[in-house]
Symmetry: D2
Subunit: 345 residues, 4 copies
Amino acid sequence: MIKTKQIAIVGASGYSGEELVHLLLSHPHAELTAVTSRQYAGQTLAQIFRKFAHHPRARGLRFSEPKAELLAKQAQIVFLALPHGVAAEFAVPLLQLGCQVIDLSADFRVRSAAVYKDFYAHEHPAPELLAQAVYGLPEVYRAQIQKASLIASPGCYPTSILLPTVPLLRAGLVQPTGIIADSLSGVSGAGRKAELDYLFVECNESVRPYGIPKHRHLSEIEQELSVAAGTSVIIQFTPHLIPVNRGILTTLYLTPAKATLDQVTACYQAAYANEPFVRLLEGKALPDTKNVVGTNVIEIAWRLDPRTGRLIVMSAEDNLVKGASGQAVQSMNLMCGFPETAGLI
Amino acid sequence: MIKTKQIAIVGASGYSGEELVHLLLSHPHAELTAVTSRQYAGQTLAQIFRKFAHHPRARGLRFSEPKAELLAKQAQIVFLALPHGVAAEFAVPLLQLGCQVIDLSADFRVRSAAVYKDFYAHEHPAPELLAQAVYGLPEVYRAQIQKASLIASPGCYPTSILLPTVPLLRAGLVQPTGIIADSLSGVSGAGRKAELDYLFVECNESVRPYGIPKHRHLSEIEQELSVAAGTSVIIQFTPHLIPVNRGILTTLYLTPAKATLDQVTACYQAAYANEPFVRLLEGKALPDTKNVVGTNVIEIAWRLDPRTGRLIVMSAEDNLVKGASGQAVQSMNLMCGFPETAGLI
Amino acid sequence: MIKTKQIAIVGASGYSGEELVHLLLSHPHAELTAVTSRQYAGQTLAQIFRKFAHHPRARGLRFSEPKAELLAKQAQIVFLALPHGVAAEFAVPLLQLGCQVIDLSADFRVRSAAVYKDFYAHEHPAPELLAQAVYGLPEVYRAQIQKASLIASPGCYPTSILLPTVPLLRAGLVQPTGIIADSLSGVSGAGRKAELDYLFVECNESVRPYGIPKHRHLSEIEQELSVAAGTSVIIQFTPHLIPVNRGILTTLYLTPAKATLDQVTACYQAAYANEPFVRLLEGKALPDTKNVVGTNVIEIAWRLDPRTGRLIVMSAEDNLVKGASGQAVQSMNLMCGFPETAGLI
Amino acid sequence: MIKTKQIAIVGASGYSGEELVHLLLSHPHAELTAVTSRQYAGQTLAQIFRKFAHHPRARGLRFSEPKAELLAKQAQIVFLALPHGVAAEFAVPLLQLGCQVIDLSADFRVRSAAVYKDFYAHEHPAPELLAQAVYGLPEVYRAQIQKASLIASPGCYPTSILLPTVPLLRAGLVQPTGIIADSLSGVSGAGRKAELDYLFVECNESVRPYGIPKHRHLSEIEQELSVAAGTSVIIQFTPHLIPVNRGILTTLYLTPAKATLDQVTACYQAAYANEPFVRLLEGKALPDTKNVVGTNVIEIAWRLDPRTGRLIVMSAEDNLVKGASGQAVQSMNLMCGFPETAGLI
């Protein structure tokens, strides 16, 4: 008999907060007891997100001001869906009060406070916690996640890049140099922000790169790739904005280290054949975001180009699910001893 | 006083044919005298493309069966907007009958019949014409286009890749090896074909790579890059389908040959500062297809990444204008001695 | 303890068939044992609909040729997601073999074979079954559905029109004359058909009315409105195609029969306050398809215009869920004695 | 020989201002000499709207602060693309300084200051000018526009409703009572405003009514319909927001006054057969915004429903062209004695 856990979400009014609400309302072993939002405090969940109004478990929920002491009484596990810098302010007291914390911001993803400052342009707000945070990528850190009290849930772009790349680097099948990741993201990746750049008319019938050449997500991507490779890895990363609500499609350009296509295929099968949320594509199939949107699945396909000798690996995920909230729930399942797929299939 | 030319379009019912009609109806020195379509023969232009019904010059036009002898009487210049393999069937008699031919298919883009067969999987239908065909990229072959009788107008992807790359290769500023072109295309690039893959529901909220690793456009891209580099060039090219009607966004990954950013900038300015349809972006601006859709302009921006040493070049164009019909009209202007921007600005 | 039922879907490769698969794979009391498709017979479900590949219950499923005798051995309940005219061919033998049949086509929605012929332009294929078919609108025919062996599941437009209108007509609060229904539908409503009209490029950035003035759905709409009003009702119905994948937004123009706004509100509350899938909007809220897409909920709002005296009622639903497959599953739940919301919330 | 006029645009940074710039840059008899924007004053036109950077006539243009005295020196004709209430502040001094003014706001559309206050909730800012303002609908007020110094250019919804309805009311072919206008608008109709409701993610895959039952545009619609009918007309109007950048599709429900379909057709042909921007659809064709987007054309089709006796009239226009800036340029052409289609075809 699995024991239900009480759950709170701090910052539940952004897109990833909303997706967390969606997933946790239907989770068989979670009871959502608190949702916070400074902007909407006092209003019911159903008033702000009308689509939840028909969920029986949404009925009592009302947005509150985020207060760590109260949250610690309401929940054993707290998700933080807050901007970087702000998340750490809540993580510190919540951990002290005995909660387990799953942070969807970037605050605890980078192990070095110096790297954090380099990429995020301010001092790390709680460097003393960095050592205990576990990077919440279950396919890579499952055992550590199971024992963690503080999860740094990965970013959307990092997930789409790390899952296809880490096994190959670990196995030494690709060079750790010269890696290129070209990514396309839906507009929800920009968050629920009232800015001209993200208006319908400005995004529809538009495609554009942005944030190059030094996107903040590079800090966690390169950290994890370096761990996998056993050497420092610097990559090229180009994000683009495309007119879809959800979805990230990443195309990776890798240089094989004398590896054959069969070795690559075997490596992926060894790493992921039993993973519940990794879909290795066979035959002529190529990733398509429409096959993963609304799910916690990442699709991966690969081709060895005989003309160039390069290995092309492509992945597709839902930026708000496997790229954010679904993955965070997957970590929660592991931390709580729930079935890893609970509430996610 | 500029003398008006009579113009015919063979295959005017596809997307690039429709765009040719649009451009030529408003061209100050062109008179559209014939449009052909086997499917719609006998119907008026306005019945099939209602949006042209209000153009005074569209009123008399009716689709006819394509017949070279008749076309040669109706027009001095004939655009072929036909599938590859079919275009050559019309080019041969039309040239013999004294017409100038601007072919938007791939039939005359590749100079070698063997390469054509390798990429298009059938014998070249008119290899004897390959020597006289001029690749219709005005920024590269302006002088030759002015004297040509047969133009092989470039493909949409090739244009988006060649214009940013050729000047750098010519100047020796980038290595001819290891070039990667990652391209995103709107759905009109697939043509007006009733196939499940291109239904609204299958494309909307979807992003996907396709046609890798050996897309047919590679044949002309590598041919032209090799000419520019003075050595054989093999590139990596990954096209993706994104849910917009029009537009191609290409991101190029290049390796500088000891070049500085200033040298790259100077090279682009020398090549394109006076080009009427190339927009070099300054400052923080990055290409966005919404700024070029409906125009014959290609936008180009570049960044030297100090972390990786790589040169990132990005371009945006309208696949149906600069990537097809607009560029073909630009070639026509050059062939006829019209102002190069006539009917295009 | 609820006993699981075995379920088959005939015609599982269209959009409503696909949505049925989606709903039934996760249904707590249903076991999907057979999916048929002439086109895809022999291929696995996961090969055709990759997004189901990760569902544990999808693994054994393979498309088969539809054969009534075999289906009757595999399933107790059979959903027919077939074109009108074809559905009846399967309904007849399946009922004889003891299956319960839920038909998503129009074949059994109209009680009169003559009306069917008038609107569908061919003889009714099984008029002897019309008397036993129950119109599967649970909010109206719940008791009958619970005892039915043949369900005629309503069309998408009819659901969006009937649920807002039937209670008002029954209560005599609006005139049965002069009703206008103006509806906007996503492109999935046209089915998975390779036709030029439904290509991405032809639908994106396009809005258009179609099928006026005598759309086939009028036959079932007017039948049910007439029952509710106790008199013959003829309505005006204008469908439009809009560039979204899913969703129907219907705006109804009604003439109050001396009713006040409070009476209308009270009527809706009496009819629907306890309905699990009807959301009556309060305050300033108006229906928005994005709040119902992916759910079995229909949203309804109403305004009495003091300037014109007219009652405006608006509804929003997902055409593939409440407008098709979700509603069919809701009927299945009622027929089987499952909780009505099983597998739907 | 047509004499060129100098033109200024006040408020050139919104969507209709941007469209005015687009049209006037290519106008054969207009010279755009000033564009104002408080927000962007000091920046070049090309910096803000990069797509104009390649237009030779855009090169010298720089946004300035709007100052009537200066504008009167720079231009003979001034377009006001400002919010209502603000436009009048500029119209008063500009007229005094001898300019002709074409106002795209609502400030001078309603002839009664009391009606204005009723719908716009503030006192009319310049009631003394109401008598001299001409409602800029060329198909209705051509002669008056030719002699006007102040044009109140119609709103986007009003244009889509008035052009199909006015001729029928004038001819007494439809009843002046019970008129319903159901309209669908692209998101650019909401203006370039950084509000959550108009974010890509909130509009894409969404359809919603809004602003009912008393939209501000009703004031000018009913005024003009009343003039046409010779009696006071009150209509029902329901606007909806749909996920396209541009386009309005209006469906009108009218009651014939003993008119036959042939009489309606004859009425439209008499009114519009020679109009350069009205396209009367024949045969089975129905309006589609994609056939008018980017043009100054309005498409109109009509059906008499034998089942209900009602007349259904549908129209499609580009909300930013025939619904705003194109129509304003059409008025300018009339005021200046230019060919009416100059710069618009």
